[in-house]
């Protein structure tokens, strides 16, 4: 049987390698929060082919309307995305009319989002609350579902540690995406994040369930071997469910599903992959580490080496 668990510190290092770069990016550049959370307005417009306005002209239009923080980006399909602080509907109409007048072209609105500043902040704080409630719900649920196993509480905590790992991976991806593809964290990002949390827990439970079952069957086996045994038994299922089916579905959606969903599906893709990875390479190893109280030996080795 393959020995997965003995290399556990290698997996932890690998996880850090994936998580840290993105988180450092987020730390230095700040969270790329969209107007869904900060409040503000976004207009995406498309000008008739051949006739367009310079970004400086558009910025002047905004400044005339009293908005000084407009930012303009061009999309792949040639439309312009203008982000600014909150526009009332009157100001928006005024700006659009002027755009049409000064460009002499048909201006079509592809998208207009406007979120009041107060509501954005509330969404952000409620989202944090939702994640917190979900984490707590998971610990309680697993503790109850595994009440017949020794130290049921540990399973809940390990699931949540792995869940935090997956959240960190998702944030890391978002941070990298923000740098290279101008991604933003919006309501869809939040949906993807919460889904990753949901499926991450689901996956942990499948692996833990096998440990629960084996714990009754193989009472004499050492804990590390027991956990390793359970992981190997569920490995085929993990690969088939995650890689072969769910990831393929998402990959198809990411490749062919059009631009609107791309960011959402890529984040789901990486997040769900991380969810499966962390069941095997984070949650289960931590269970073993906890059982063996390995932290007591972390620093001893160095002392011995010193002697």
């Amino acid at each position: 049987m393959i020995d997965i668990l003995s290399k556990r510190y290698f997996y932890f290092a690998f996880s850090l390698l994936v998580i840290l770069p993105g988180l450092i990016l987020l730390g230095t550049n700040g969270l790329p929060l969209s107007i869904d959370f900060t409040g503000g307005s976004l207009i995406e417009v498309q000008f008739e082919t051949g006739k367009s306005l310079d970004t400086t002209n558009i910025l002047t239009l905004y400044e005339d309307a009293g908005i000084n923080d407009a930012q303009i980006t061009t999309t792949e399909i040639g439309s312009l995305v203008i982000r600014s602080s909150f526009l009332t509907n009157e100001v928006r109409d005024e700006i659009l009319t002027k755009m049409t007048e000064s460009s002499g072209a048909e201006v079509s609105i592809i998208r207009f989002d406007s979120v009041g500043p107060s509501i954005g902040k509330q969404v952000a704080s409620r989202a944090a609350l939702a994640v917190g409630v979900a984490a707590l719900g998971v610990i309680i649920y697993i503790t109850i579902a595994f009440r017949k196993v020794q130290n049921a509480f540990r399973y809940g905590v390990c699931a949540v540690i792995a869940m935090i790992h997956d959240v960190a991976v998702v944030f890391s991806v978002a941070g990298i995406g923000a740098l290279f593809f101008d991604w933003q964290m919006d309501a869809l990002f939040l949906t993807a994040l919460l889904t990753v949390i949901g499926f991450s827990v689901q996956d942990k439970i499948v692996v833990f369930d096998r440990i629960r079952e084996n714990a009754n069957l193989l009472r004499k086996l050492e804990y590390e071997k027991l956990v390793n045994h359970s992981i190997v038994q569920t490995l085929q299922r993990s690969i088939n469910t995650q890689l072969m089916t769910v990831e393929f579905l998402l990959l198809a959606l990411a490749l062919f599903g059009g631009i609107t969903l791309q960011e959402f599906t890529v984040i789901l893709l990486v997040g769900l992959l991380s969810g499966t990875y962390s069941s095997i390479f984070v949650a289960a190893p931590i269970l073993v580490l906890w059982e063996k109280r390995e932290w007591t030996t972390w620093f001893k080795r160095k002392e011995e080496a010193a002697v």
Partner: protein, 452 residues
């Protein structure tokens, strides 16, 4: 392996037939066979989300201090009024819902003329009947009143501005109609008051005959009729130099202008129709490609059980789609993603069971034992993992509904419903079909049929 197999097959066939009927019809009507009366009818036209067909979404919030408690019934009334107002514009298929305790979300799919809708909604219109005594205020002027929607004492200006007493608000109006004056010189507006309003009105008008009863919309004077007689029956009329048009306009203001809670627009989203159509086609194609890969994988890897799982997933999709139609789910891009993910969960249940069956077969059990064991042993993990998925989807749903974030709501609903149906198909349908297949084909070579 299974008792009462026939019953199971009948149930599955009935469910699939019902689902197919719903999937392929625009509406469902059940007639009484004797009298031909309609017993039941339900429109099943699929509803596309804003992201798929373009349109407008607005989020309205009660324009009151953040800590003010708002009576939920007042929000319901406000919702009804917004609905009536926008219906009057001839906008079809709009959905107006209360979101949380102080917000209303309105969706207008396919809407091109977003401006008129926004304007109509924005005439928030708090209608007040105010006692101005002998003072005849000019139309259009602004008055300060003592009305407070929360029931607390309002903040009154300290600079000596006259504060007028609000006798009642438009919430007390029951119905409004416009009719020609008896002298046929002009038009008047007739109104009927609710019981409580009738009593307030009777008391006030009998004590204040000859005085002005000023009507304010958003604190602005729209009319200041004189009380001619005491109105005790709860019915009265406002006459003046109204033309048909002005009487009608006034009537509409009275009827729909009486929001019990002032509302402001806090969020607007407009999606152009081209973006939507493009996304729909692309994501449907993508979903199809993904499904084909999954079907191929399942068949090649799991052989006969794989084929059974594919049929069972197909049944899952048919049933899920029928339920989405039946409950008028809005089909949106995140909804499609949620559906695909729940398909993944449905497959997961099948895979868990099949892996277990293979394991039991490898351990030397016979086929019947292995299949029974497969289900019994896989069940706890399927149950616990799916319950946790439902737990997190409900947290998502709660989050989505307090903020009128309909995309989040749609996603979590499709996900949760999908998980529930997937439990039914994995536990019930797959098992029944597998037994049917086994009895039909009587496989001997397990290696070839089960891929172990």
């Amino acid at each position: 392996m299974i008792r009462n197999l026939t019953n199971r097959i009948v149930l599955i066939v009935v469910v699939v037939a019902l689902a197919l009927w719903i999937n392929f019809s625009e509406d469902v009507t059940v007639l009484n066979p004797v009298t031909d009366e309609t017993l039941f009818t339900r429109n099943l036209a699929p509803r596309l989300g804003l992201d798929l067909q373009g349109g407008l979404q607005v989020l309205l919030e009660a324009d009151l201090p953040a800590d003010a408690k708002i009576d939920p019934s007042l929000m319901d009334i406000a919702r009804d009024i917004v609905q009536q107002r926008t219906d009057a514009l001839g906008v079809n298929e709009n959905i107006i819902q209360v979101a949380g305790d102080r917000r209303i979300v309105g969706e207008f799919p396919g809407l091109e003329d977003t401006e008129s809708v926004l304007e109509t909604i924005q005439q928030t219109g708090l209608l007040e009947f105010v006692d101005t005594g002998d003072f005849n205020p000019q139309e259009g002027s602004i008055l300060v009143t003592d009305y407070s929607p929360t029931g607390d004492a309002p903040d009154l200006p300290a600079d000596g501005t006259t504060v007028y007493h609000t006798i009642m608000t438009g919430a007390e109006l029951d119905s409004i109609s416009v009719s020609q004056d008896t002298a046929a010189t002009g038009y008047s507006i007739n109104f009927v008051l609710k019981d409580n309003g009738a009593k307030i009105f009777a008391d006030h008008t009998s004590a204040n005959t000859g005085k002005f009863l000023t009507i304010l919309l958003d604190k602005q004077v729209i009319s200041a009729p004189v009380i001619n007689d005491a109105i005790t029956g709860g019915e009265g009329s406002i006459s003046g130099s109204f033309t048909y048009e002005s009487a009608n306009a006034f009537g509409i203001q009275l009827r729909y202008g009486s929001l019990p809670v002032p509302l402001k627009i806090v969020e607007t989203r407009i999606i152009g129709p081209t973006l939507g159509a493009d996304s729909l086609n692309k994501s449907l194609v993508a979903a199809l490609i993904g499904m084909i890969i999954v079907v191929l994988f399942m068949t090649i890897y799991y052989r006969m059980p794989g084929i059974v799982a594919v049929i069972s997933i197909l049944i899952y999709a048919i049933v899920a789609f029928a339920l989405f139609k039946w409950f008028h789910f809005t089909l949106s891009l995140p909804g499609i993603a949620g559906f695909l993910l729940s398909t993944g969960a449905a497959l997961d249940a099948n895979i868990l069971i099949f892996e277990r069956i293979k394991e039991e077969l490898r351990n030397g059990r016979n086929l019947a034992q292995s299949i029974d064991q497969g289900w019994t042993r896989a069940w706890p993990s399927i149950r616990d993992s799916n319950l946790s998925a439902i737990l997190t989807s409900s947290i998502l749903f709660w989050f989505g509904s307090t903020f009128g974030a309909t995309i989040v709501k749609g996603f979590s609903l499709t996900l949760a419903l999908g998980v529930v149906i997937s439990l039914f198909t994995a536990i019930y349908v797959t098992r029944t079909l597998l037994v049917v297949f086994l009895r039909t084909f009587k496989p001997q070579n397990l290696e070839r049929w089960f891929g172990i």
